[in-house]
Structure formats: C-alpha cells, structure tokens
C-alpha cells in the first residue's frame, strides 16, 4: 500500500462520511458543516491527482463562498425545526432497489471501462495549461459563461432593488 492510496482512502472516507452525516443530521447548520468537510476532502483528492489548481478553486468556491451563502440563507430566514416523518415502506423498498440497480450498473461499467493510456505530463504547469486551453479552444463558451454570470448578477441586484422600493413606498 503506497502513501497515495492511504491518503486516498482517508480522503474518500471523509468525503463519504461527510455526505452520510449531511443526509442523516436533523440540524440544518450541522448539515452544512458536514458538507464543508466533504468539499475539503474532495479538494484533497484533487491534490492527490496533482490537479492543485482545481483543488484550490474547489476550496475557494465550494468550501468558502457557497457554504457561506448557504449559511447566510439558513440563518437569515425563518426556519422551524423540521419534524421527522416516516417514509412508507413501499418507497423505501423501491428506492433501495433503484440504488442497488444503479450501483450494479456503475460497478460493472467502471470495471469494464478503459481510458487508454493515461497522460503523463498533465500535472506540469497545469494552471498555465488550463488558462491556455480556456482562452484558445474554449473562448466562446468561456465568454458566454461570463455573460450568463453578469446577467445573474444584474438580476440579483434588480430583484433586491425592487424589494427596497416597495418597502420605501409603504
């Protein structure tokens, strides 16, 4: 067993444990904290794959920004404690069967999968490579995404502004 696989097992376990805890906890804030650990573990897995740029972005966007937005959303809105409800037995059985089928398909699919010869030099200067690819091959999708984000940003401002005026009108 190499150090790499040990690191992978620890990170994968953390990621899965975080996910399971997130589903099973009853307190919303605890769920978000569990989610943070999942995100961090996934960033760690990226590092074991020597994709450090993606790892840093994962931490920056997911563990940092998105988590905080979720926390704000939860804390600033009124939320009653969720009452636990019992699922009907049929639903549990059906979804269990669905999960089993999905697992089997994925398992055999992955077993049979061959990706050809893995690239050996992708980890060298990968930040630069991502930049070059983004601005040469994928420049149109990239620009379209930025326009989409800009539209979302302006939309958010417009919606917030409208609320403000209504309150002022009252």
């Amino acid at each position: 067993m190499t150090g790499e696989s040990i690191a992978f097992f620890i990170l994968a376990l953390t990621a899965i444990a975080g996910g399971v805890m997130m589903i099973n906890m009853s307190n919303v804030i605890h769920m978000v904290v569990a989610l943070v650990f999942t995100f961090l573990a996934i960033a760690g897995i990226y590092i074991t794959l020597s994709a450090e740029f993606v790892a840093a972005v994962q931490v920056l966007i997911y563990s940092g920004a998105i988590t905080i937005i979720m926390l704000f959303g939860i804390m600033l809105t009124r939320h009653e404690r969720m009452t636990e409800w019992k699922l009907p037995k049929m639903t549990v059985l059906l979804s269990g069967a669905g999960i089993l089928v999905f697992f089997l398909i994925m398992f055999f699919g992955i077993n049979r999968l061959s990706l050809g010869n893995p690239a050996t030099d992708l980890h060298i200067d990968n930040t630069k490579k991502i930049g070059v690819e983004l601005y040469s091959k994928y420049v149109i999708p990239f620009e379209l995404t930025s326009v989409l984000l800009l539209v979302a940003l302006i939309g958010a401002i417009v919606i917030a502004k409208r609320d403000d005026e209504k309150e002022a009108g009252k």
């Binding site: 150090g3 307190n27 804030i29 605890h30 904290v33 943070v36 961090l40 450090e52 740029f53 840093a56 972005v57 931490v59 920056l60 563990s63 940092g64 920004a65 988590t67 905080i68 926390l71 704000f72 804390m75 600033l76 200067d125 990968n126 930040t127």
Partner: protein, 334 residues
C-alpha cells in the same frame, strides 16, 4: 536545504523533518504573536501619550503578554448551556487551522521556505476563506444575539473585501506571469511591484486590513454595539484561539504583502550586502507597524459605509488597476 527536501522523493524521514520544521515555525509565530500584541499596545500607548504596559518584565513590559496568556490558560472554560456544543468546540479549531496552514505557502527568503507551490497565491486566498466559516459557526453556536450579529458582520465583510483583495492582485500576477510566490519575488529583482501597480497596492492594503477585521474595519467586534462580537461567549483557551487566529493572520497578511508588493527578500539598491531574511523582516515589520498605526489613527466605519466602500470604491479601482497594469506591461515591460 529546503529546496533539496522539496525535490527529493518523500518518505517517513521527510515527514518527520517537515513536522519538526512546522513546529519550529509555530514557535516562531507564537513568539511573534506575543510581541506583536505587546508592540501594538506600546505603539498605541505612545500615540495616545501614555506609556503602555510597563510593569511586568522590566521597564518595557516585556513579559506582559506572557502573563496575560498565563491568566487565560488558567481561566475557567465555560460553554453556555444553550450553546450548540459540538459546533461551539469545533469553531475555534476551524478558525485557527487555516491561519496556520496559509503560512506554508509563504517564502521567507531564498532558502527559507516550506513549499514551492505553483499556485501559492491562490492557495493562500482559498484556505483563508475557511476561517470565515469558523467565525460564522462560532457566532451561531454561541446562541447569543450579539455573537450571531458579529459573526454575520464578519462573514459579510470578509466576503465583500475578499473580492477587491483578489482583483487587486491580478496586476501582480500579470507582471510576474505566475501564481508561485517565489517567482513573484524573483520578478521584483529590479523594481518592486508596489511601484508598478501603486493602485493595486493601495487597494490590497486597505482590503487586507478589512480582511483582518482590524480598525477601522473592526465592526464584527465593535464593543460599543456588540459587546465583543462573535466571541462573546468564549473564554479561556478557546477565546485565546480566536485571538491567536487574528494575530497569526496579521503575520500571514503582512508576509504576503511583503512578498507581493514590497519585493520579499530582495534588497534595496546598493544595500545588497545585508542578507535577504533581514530585508524580509524589515519590510514585514514596516507593514505590521503600518497596521498598528492605522488602528491608532482611524475611527471605526459604519456598517453601510463599509459595504459601500468595498463595492463602489475599492472594486472599481481594482478593476481599473488591471487595465492600467496591462497597459504598463504592454508599453514598458516588453
């Protein structure tokens, strides 16, 4: 020495050596924190025409912080009954760990560095974001309205000022063509980036003070309105952790400013005989002094002014800085 360690294949001995080096750094940082707090109190004292701490440990109060820490350690460790206990315990750890983690990326001199990350700058920015989660968590878990307000303010402020902070650095990245902090320092052999992108430097300095939650941006712990902000309910050792986080970030941010804008360990022209680490220490101390100076000079901002300032002043200036930097690079640095 560290360069050899970083390039040779890893093993148990490496892990042990790095653990030892990390422990050394921790001790150095703790020493810095001890005397940074004393320096802050002394300098603020002089600015306000009073002597500052001058009893414990001789005329200059050299052991004042040590005594304060001792007092903190033997204080009762309280956890409020209505607090969310697991999060209450986890929050100081989640706030402090990133503060120490970011130090790994910072090169202190040509030979003294703990890593050579190709994305050093991005690593710093990404990891330091996790502290916000810790602070927000502390505010929420305390189950106290002042803590919650303080935590919220802190998170909102740190997110808002992170944007001008990151955008102001883009100029530096363009000049050096790298995210690696060592390469950024080496790119400043002839001229420091603070002269090439002065706008970026000013925006970075202001937003770094805001990121550190220091006066004039210390709304999260505005004692006149919020008692103490997100750490109202904390006492003893846990409270010490939040204080430690704050000062370790002061260390890290001053070091980062030195590396990005002041040329790191590069000497001032004609004074190259002085070793690099001393230059680093000098520039670093200058930044720390500046932070203390600002604290002694400026009054606190109002919450709405704070947000307006980040979005309506700093962000446009930072964007302008990108444009100006691109023009400067194309015209003069080809």
């Amino acid at each position: 020495m560290v360069n050899d360690l970083l390039t040779s294949p890893p093993g148990w001995i490496h892990a042990a050596i790095f653990l030892g080096l990390g422990a050394c750094l921790l001790v150095i940082v703790l020493g810095f924190v001890t005397y940074a707090i004393l320096a802050e109190r002394k300098v603020l004292g002089f600015m306000q025409l009073r002597p500052g701490p001058n009893r414990v440990g001789g005329r200059f109060g050299l052991l004042q912080t040590v005594a304060d820490v001792m007092k903190l350690l033997i204080k009762e460790d309280t956890i409020p009954k209505a607090a969310d206990k697991p999060l209450f315990v986890l929050a100081p750890v989640l706030a402090f760990a990133p503060a120490f983690m970011v130090l790994a990326a910072i090169p202190f001199s040509d030979h003294l560095k703990f890593s050579d990350l190709s994305i050093g700058l991005l690593y710093y920015i990404a990891i330091s974001g996790i502290t916000t989660v810790g602070i927000l968590m502390a505010g929420w878990a305390s189950n106290n309205k002042y803590s919650l307000l303080g935590g919220m303010r802190s998170a909102a402020q740190m997110i808002s000022y992170e944007i001008p902070l990151v955008v102001s650095v883009v100029g530096v990245i363009m000049f050096s063509g790298s995210l690696n902090l060592t390469e950024i320092v080496e790119g400043q052999k002839t001229v420091a980036y603070m002269f090439l992108s002065p706008l970026g430097f000013i925006v970075f300095l202001i937003s770094s003070i805001a990121e550190l939650n220091r006066t004039p941006f210390d709304l999260p712990e505005a004692e006149s309105e919020l008692v103490a902000g997100y750490h109202v309910e904390y006492s003893g050792f846990r409270w010490a952790f939040f204080m430690l986080t704050e000062y370790v970030y002061l260390f890290a941010m001053a070091a980062l400013t030195t590396v990005l804008f002041l040329g790191g360990w590069n000497p001032v022209p004609f004074l190259g005989f002085i070793p690099g680490i001393i230059w680093f220490a000098l520039k670093f101390s200058l930044i720390v002094f500046f932070m203390i100076w600002v604290r002694g000079t400026m009054p606190r901002l109002r919450a709405d002014q704070l947000m307006e300032f980040a979005w309506k002043v700093l962000l446009p200036v930072a964007l302008l800085n990108i444009f100006v930097s691109a023009v400067v690079k194309e015209l003069f640095l080809r």
